[in-house]
Amino acid sequence: MLGLTTLAVAILVAGLGSGLYMAWNIGANDLANSMGPAVGSGAISHKQAVVIASLLTVTGAILAGEHVTSTVQVGIFDTEAVLESEGANILSLGALSAITAAGLWITVATWKSLPISTSHSIVGGMLGYGLLIGGMGIISWSTLGRIVVSWVTSPIFGAITAFIVFKLIVKLIFNSEEPFKTAKRSVPIILGITIFVISLSLLYNTALSERLFGEKLDLLGAMFYSIFPAVILGYLGKYPMMKGVEKENGFEDVEHVFKRLQLLTACYIAFSFGANNVGNAVGPIVLIIQNTFGNSGLPFFLRNEILLLVGGGGLALGISTWGYKVIKTIGFKLTSLTNTRGFSVSFGGATTMLVASMVGMPISTSHTVVGAVLGVGFARGVEALDLSVIKRIVISWLITVPIAATTSVVLYTVMTQFV
């Protein structure tokens, strides 16, 4: 095979397998978490959730997954330095250790009943290997620092966004003279904002914008071009979205409008999920592939776009083979979140994830959603939250990186005994 050594091929095959396993794991556990609010408040059935999640996750992965992929691939430690000093196989073996460690840790954590973040796991895995092979000096502390800061800020950002969205719903809709009419009037605005953020993620500094405009657009350029689809689709989209929504009574009719809007946020969150999480599975694989083939002779089926597609497919496979059960459980559990609350949580969570994806930060989906639920809680929108569960989630946050890092080191050390 293109004159590759048996070892390189073995690492490549194992890496592809591990990457797919990781993607499946992420899809099965994390994605279900983000679809929970929409199913719980009865906006979509669990079958619809699986279909939406599968399709939109793949779309998000292909169209907006490149930044996170690049961060996980080369952002955590100086891969060039390792390549020069240790050679391609050692670097590939490291990436393989990292992704296998992350995948194993997710499985063990699942088995041992710990809620963990897949993003934290892969960053931990890459960090562990980097420290072992090159010591402190090789780690890209500034990028790592930014990642860690994003882990702290993403739940806060999710909370703030969800808080503001829910407060706006209360102030502008619930407190208006005719809540139902106001809710219906707000549909094109909400639709427009959502499309604006999605479009921004598609155009800001992406390969897609390069293909469309001949250059990677900066933030202002991306914002400018995003206004058009936001206005047009926001206006036109209100007709199919609100078809058949009738006035009921009291605040229930407002909930009915938001039930439809939750269909939108379900798509939004699945798209954002794909964009933010595919890199956790694909990043290390891209690194292995580049080490294996260099800059030339890369087979068509191993190109980045294809890997993102397969990675996204892995996420979709995860949710449709295992995640649907999780969605069913979560949907049942979250029934106390009404549509306006569920909408605010999903909107806050999805916006946070997508903004993080735009700047290449691999953040934790579940922590962001927890933040968003708390945000709605602070706005007095959630009737009851058990804080001890939140505490357990935060603890799991702290232990993931050291464990994934150590596992990655152990795996690498074991594997080098055989090569």
Binding site: G36, L114, T329, V370, E383, A384, L385, L387
Partner: protein, 228 residues
């Protein structure tokens, strides 16, 4: 995925709303008070058998509501995040439950002495009962408004209605108090039938407590709104 894992995830942080339990509890209060009202009416008309049937139902409903109250308390996690504080919630539940406790007291106490209401206070007793039951009806509306307050995250309109209701509740309780004093005065001077006097004094005292606690619920919700 094991059950334990699910218990640690976000969907388990959002737990069944204790307010649903509170709603169920309030509905039982409504049911019990309807029966008590019928019972008091039959009693006043001298239809003691029919009255007893209604009073028996009150006891059964009170027992059922007690179970719900215990269930709510047991299922309320120590570290819970709600739109109102845990203490406020428990006080609200306690005050609402007291309405039922006193309703049961009346339903037990009244048939202990099967005697016609003395003529000199018959009219006042009827007015007094009406005021007490009206205050419970307002309590019921207050609980409905409270549920709307939660749905709208303390929206303007239900807030305004809750404020009005609190004033009405206070007014009703005050009126009941006034008539209670009148009846009490008459009974303390009812030398003809001292036992009947003692019996009725105790009954009106318990009935007045029903209105007191209905008013307390109104005050409680008003003070919650003050802090929002």
């Amino acid at each position: 995925m094991t059950g334990k894992f699910r218990r640690s995830s976000i969907e388990n942080a959002v737990i069944d709303s204790p307010f649903e339990g509170l709603n169920k509890h309030s509905k039982l209060i409504k049911k019990a008070i309807r029966e008590l009202k019928k019972g008091v009416y039959h009693y006043s008309e001298g239809e003691f058998e029919e009255a007893q049937e209604c009073f028996n139902k009150v006891s059964k409903i009170e027992h059922k509501a007690d179970k719900i109250k215990i269930q709510i308390r047991e299922n309320l996690p120590k570290f819970i995040f709600m739109p109102i504080t845990r203490d406020d919630f428990l006080t609200l539940l306690k005050e609402a439950d007291s309405i039922l406790d006193y309703a049961e007291d009346v339903s037990v106490l009244l048939p202990m002495r099967e005697e016609e209401i003395p003529e000199k206070v018959k009219g006042d007793f009827k007015d007094f009962s009406e005021k007490v039951f009206e205050s419970v009806e307002q309590f019921e509306e207050m609980m409905n408004i409270f549920s709307k307050l939660l749905k709208s995250s303390f929206g303007k309109k239900p807030k305004e209605r809750a404020r009005e209701l609190q004033k009405e509740l206070s007014e009703r309780e005050h009126e009941a108090d006034k008539i209670e004093k009148k009846i009490s005065k008459a009974m303390f001077n009812y030398e003809k039938e001292p036992l009947t006097a003692v019996h009725l004094l105790k009954v009106v005292d318990r009935m007045d407590s029903i209105a007191d606690h209905a008013e307390n619920v109104g005050d409680m919700i008003d003070s919650i709104l003050e802090s929002k």
